[in-house]
Structure formats: C-alpha cells, structure tokens
C-alpha cells in the first residue's frame, strides 16, 4: 500500500514574545527568525503512518523552501522511502486551494492509496487542505482521525465525531485528516538510522512543473486577505509575591479569591 503523508514546516509561534508580533506591509508577519517545527497535526500524521508501515511505500511530501530539508532528512532516517519537496518561494499562508491542487497533481504523477494530512496548520489556520484534496481526487475523506490500524484488506480508522468516536473498517483509496490525536508525538531517529539514511536524497520538484499557476491566480482573486489586527489578551497582570508558597497562597486567597469563591 502506498501511503503519502503531507506535512508543513511552520514557525513555532509560541516562541514569539508578545512584543514580537508586528504586522508589516501586505499582512506579513516576520517569523523568519523563529525556530521551525513540523506542524503538530502533521507530526501526528507522520507518526501514524510509521505505525502502519516500517518504510516501504511511505512518502513524505512538503511544499516550500529549503528550510524544510532538515526535517525531511529526519523522515528519511525514520525509514520513509521517499521525501519530496515541491519547491516554491511563494507565500503559502492563505492559499489552500493552490496547495491542494499541487498535492493532487503530485498524486496524479505518483499514485497513492492513502493520503494522511493534518487538519490545519498554525499560520493560515485555513483548515481546508485535506478536504480540498479529497474533493480534487474525488476520494472519500475521514476527518478528525485519531488512530489508524492495519486490518485484512482494509484499514481500521478511529475518528472523532460530534458526539463520540466512530470506528470504521474502510477500503482505500482514501484521504485521512488527522485531528487531536493524543500520544502521537513523532519518534526520534537513532544516530545509526541517521547514518544509514545519510546518502538518501530529498526529491525536489519545481511547483511550476505542474502547470497550476492558473489555479493559484484564481484563488488570489476570489479569496483575498483584506487586513489584519493583532489580538491582545493583555490584562492588569498584578503579580502577588510571598516569601514561600504558603505566604503567596495566603495573599492570593485574601486579596483575589476569598470573595470570588464565596460568590460562586
């Protein structure tokens, strides 16, 4: 079974201090200096794929610049058979239609039975890409996936639904969109695994080679960013200090909590 996991390398936004958030021209926020990471939902998707297969048939795909390469090398060390980067310098934050079109075009070139994607990423927060990929490929989609297990001739997929858990035995081809799946942190490769995979190359494909500029231009016309405002959660932030935990607790209780607890 060919499994494709799509992952996005994103800035770790929690590393930015409150003062670092500055909106520049054209709605851009400079996060270039922030440490990057694999989008957490995609990290779950990658780990789920590794639990399904120990390498053969596993492809990891990302779209973006060279800064993604160290992460793809890690995935090769973890025994992904292929690590592919679709090269584009373009701003990808609010272009899920174009991203989905690129993924669908890649699948047309390199057929896949199952696609696993995180449900959204933290920059654009679009929450659209897996769903659009399913529509473009005309494949069934299961959202909010929590667990994927191999079963005879099919997959057993557990997903969160509005009032519980849905467990389905399903036959590929499929698109799976991963939700809040606890206990799915991506494993870390050993030094030996890194050395063994050292000569494996990342495949780089030029986004223009797919001939999808029209899709990108169209998305830019119909769905336009029209301004940004910083969200502030600031409050008074009065710090209460005490000599130790007991003294701090006494002050907090007397000055902040007693009346409020009594009023509940």
């Amino acid at each position: 079974m060919n499994l494709l996991v799509c992952c996005k390398i994103v800035p770790d936004l929690d590393r930015l201090s409150l003062g670092d958030w500055v909106i520049e021209g054209q709605g851009r926020i400079d996060t270039d200096y922030v440490r990057n990471m694999i989008n957490p939902f995609d990290e779950s998707a990658l780990e789920m794929a590794l639990r399904l297969s120990d390498g053969p048939g596993l492809t990891a795909l990302t779209i973006g610049g060279r800064m993604a390469d160290p992460f793809l090398k890690t995935l090769l060390a973890l025994r992904f058979e292929r690590a592919v980067r679709i090269e584009t310098p373009a701003d990808r934050r609010f272009c899920p239609d174009w991203i989905a079109a690129l993924i669908a075009a890649f699948v047309a070139r390199s057929p896949q039975d199952v696609l696993i994607l995180g449900r959204q990423s933290g920059e654009g927060d679009n929450a659209k890409t897996p769903l659009l990929v399913a529509e473009l490929l005309k494949r069934p989609c299961i959202t909010e996936v929590l667990r994927i297990e191999a079963a005879a001739e099919c997959l057993r997929v557990t997903s969160q639904v509005d009032a519980g858990l849905l467990v389905q035995a399903v036959r590929p081809p499929l698109v799976l969109s991963v939700g809040n799946a606890a206990g799915t942190a991506l494993r870390v490769p050993t030094l030996k695994q890194r050395m063994l995979s050292g000569k494996q190359r990342i495949e780089v494909i030029d986004a223009d080679s797919f001939g999808l500029e029209a899709v990108r231009a169209s998305a830019g016309q119909d769905y336009v960013l029209d301004g940004m405002t910083l969200v502030s959660h600031r409050r008074a932030g009065r710090i209460v200090a005490g000599a130790d935990a007991r003294a701090t607790a006494r002050t907090l209780y007397a000055e902040c909590l007693k009346q409020r607890l009594e009023a509940l």
Partner: protein, 315 residues
C-alpha cells in the same frame, strides 16, 4: 441577507452551537433577512426542532451521518437554497463547509467570527496565526460556505417553531468503501463551556502524577478541570478537557491557570473569564501579562496551600 443553515442532528444534539448561531444571527447583516435550515437527522428530529433558529426548515432523514451522501443531497438542494451557507464549528460543519464550497464552485471559510456585506462580496473575520491575529478576508465568489467559530457570539435561546418546507427520506446503505462502522459515545461532556470556576493546567504540571494531583485539587476546590493542548496530547488529561480554539471556549467567573504559558490558542479559550489568576514558575511567561492577578512559583505547591485555606475559610 438570505442564508441557509446546515445542521447535522445525527450525531448528538448540537445545542450549544445552535444557541451561539442564534446569537450570531442577531448581527446587523442578518436583520430583515430570511433563513432556512437544512436539518439532517436519523429519525429523531422532534427534539432538534426547538434548536432551529430560522423560520423555515427542510428535514432530511438519513440512515447515519455520512459526509459524501450529505454533500450529494446539499448539491441537489442548492438551486433552491440561498447562496450564503452557515455551518457549525464542529467536525461535520467544518468538513461540509469546505467540501460544499468546492463542489458548488464558491468560496469556503472556517472559523468565521463575524461577517458583513462589502462592495465586492462578503467580508469575514477569523483568527489566524494560532489566534495571535485576526484577519479579514474578502470572499468574492458565491456561494459562500462559512463554518462559524466556536464562541463567535453569546448564546441566545431560540424562540418560535420553524415552518417545515419539505421532508426528504434519503435513508441508504453505507457506501461501498465502508465495510463496517460503529459509533461509541464519547465521555460525558466536561461542561467546561458552562462552568463558573475552572482550574486549567498546562505543561507546568511537569509529570502525569503531578497532573493527577492537580486534578484532585480542582475537585477539592469545586472547579472543573481544563487543560492546555500539550497536556491532553500527552494523555495526562482526557481530550474532552481541552481548553482553547480546538477545545472548549469557556466563560467562567473565575479561572485559575496553573502552569500554562498562555499560548494565544489557549488564551482564546479563557479570554471571556471574568477573573484570571495565573500561577507559573517562569516570570516571563506571557500568561502573567494576560491575567488579572498572578504569582511566580510552583503551581502545585501554591494550589495545595490554597485548598487548605479554602477548606478552612482562610484560617
């Protein structure tokens, strides 16, 4: 403005979201407009009708919620529906909005907090950058399929009974790619959205054992336990206790935040708290600037002392 609400009544009662939607419809953009709800149900629709916030409803009975089937039905009904579709911020609402928008050749947006008509289309706002930023988008291509953000409006009880425009029976066999399907009820809701007192814990809990002790302290204080995303992803606390944009959007009178740094996505879930008390060992943690009062120190040690004071009336 005419609009269509799509409600999935097959997988539980979407009560909280329906009341928020009713609050959302009080926006000026909808005044004087007419709405129709397409209500998907598996037979038990009577209990769902009081949640319908529009004056008219189309009832569609299906065997179970199956997104591909529901999308086919919505495509079929589209010529007679208004070209502004509103969906709830739940798994089915987010999925249907995006996929229907694509199928109808329109535009979809999830997590919508507000909307207003604009000269060239519809202007919608939503949180981006992990809830650090609110962005406005101009949607120029109809139909517009919007999934509303949780907490987009104050809940408002629904009054009146909708007029039933049409009743459809679309019960069907499951699609061929599904060999077997079974739904099990999730844990009982934690009730965080309605809680008046919440103790929300973060990675400052440090270990599963300490997280369990904090949970016990929440119980002793009479607070509902909430948790940040890293805590539930580590399975220290069950997922249904997640607070933030992908969990509960709360509005308690009192919220104690223990050991959470205060990421924007988490803060969005507690921003409507009347009073926030934060405990953190890091004096540079953002939460200490986003609380009403805070203390620097080990959250477990301070909370253990607070529980003793609570038990003995401050003595």
């Amino acid at each position: 403005m005419k609009y269509t609400v799509v409600m999935n009544g097959c997988t539980g009662s979407p009560c909280a979201q329906a009341l928020e939607l009713n609050g959302f419809l009080r926006q000026p953009a909808f005044q004087g407009g007419a709405g129709t709800t397409v209500l998907f149900h598996d037979g038990a629709f009577a209990a769902l009708l009081p949640l319908v916030a529009t004056e008219a409803v189309i009832l569609v009975q299906v065997t179970r919620y199956q997104p591909e089937q529901v999308l086919d039905i919505l495509e079929e009904l589209a010529p007679r529906l208004a070209d502004l579709y509103l969906f709830f911020d739940d798994p089915s609402g987010r999925e249907l909005s995006v996929r229907l928008g694509h199928r109808l050749g329109g535009t979809a947006l999830t997590g919508v907090r507000a909307l207003s008509p604009a000269a060239q289309g519809l202007r919608c706002t939503k949180a981006v950058y992990g809830s650090h930023v609110e962005a406005a988008f101009l949607l120029r291509r109809k139909p517009c399929c919007l999934a509303l953000a949780k907490g987009c409006a104050d809940p408002l009880p629904v009054t009146g009974t909708p007029r039933i425009l049409m009743t459809l029976d679309r019960r069907a066999e499951p699609p061929a790619w599904v060999e077997q399907a079974e739904t099990t009820p999730g844990p009982a809701p934690a009730g965080l959205e309605d809680a008046t007192f919440i103790l929300a814990i973060g990675m400052g809990a440090q270990t599963p054992d300490r997280a369990a002790r904090l949970a016990a302290l929440a119980d002793a204080l009479g607070a509902e336990l909430g948790a940040s995303r890293p805590v539930v992803m580590n399975a220290w606390v069950p997922m249904h206790r997640l607070v933030g944009v992908s969990g509960a959007m709360t509005r308690p009178a009192l919220c104690i935040v223990a050991g959470a740094s205060g990421s924007a996505a988490f803060m969005a879930g507690i921003q409507k708290s009347r009073f926030i008390l934060a405990l953190n060992t890091d004096d540079q943690a953002p939460i200490l600037k986003c609380c009403d009062a805070g203390a620097v120190g080990d959250c477990l040690a301070i909370l253990e002392e607070l529980v003793q004071l609570f038990k003995h009336g401050g003595a």
